[in-house]
Symmetry: C2
Subunit: 119 residues, 2 copies
Amino acid sequence: MAAPAVRELPEPPGLPQPLPEPPVGELRLETVLGALSDPLRIRIVRKLLVEREQFDHPCGWFGLDRPKSSLTHHFKALREAGLIRQRQYGLERRSHVRVADLEARFPGLLNLITAWTPS
Amino acid sequence: MAAPAVRELPEPPGLPQPLPEPPVGELRLETVLGALSDPLRIRIVRKLLVEREQFDHPCGWFGLDRPKSSLTHHFKALREAGLIRQRQYGLERRSHVRVADLEARFPGLLNLITAWTPS
């Protein structure tokens, strides 16, 4: 079965600045793979890739049954590894996947993630 | 720059039985990525993929400047995640990458590894 396609959406004007993240030239494959070694984190990235409905999504959108502090930790780990970009909207952080950066540095990685299925 | 090609070698007759490993149908992407989240482990798998000279190689072949006990641990982690197959030759274990199994389950993964370069 073919992996579902990545949904790309245009960047709207007037976005808040992204939170701190590694620049594309400093992304490391081993760090990215480490961040994806948790099934919850693969699930977050995959849902953002294939079910995206807005430019970026708050953690409530994912429907994950975990404490907020745990989700905050997982999203931060994904951002610090370079997988997602987060922006602060008032009290809320919203995320999207760094599709172009990841495709440029690690061709094929996003296909592996979209083809993933839970055990 | 294109990633170097994977070197495949035919299986010689009379090999020892492989050590215990997960069957191909039970390989999990998150487990495989976790095993690759250490630069030494990516380096081991990459060298086996692109510099292979024999069907399987003992850990001395890799030229890694680490204690034997540490190397034994890393090779075991790679085997238990399903990345390498290990066989016992007398006192020595030798390894090769499960190329066909990994290509079947996670298309594109081996390209990511062969394209990897140390930081």
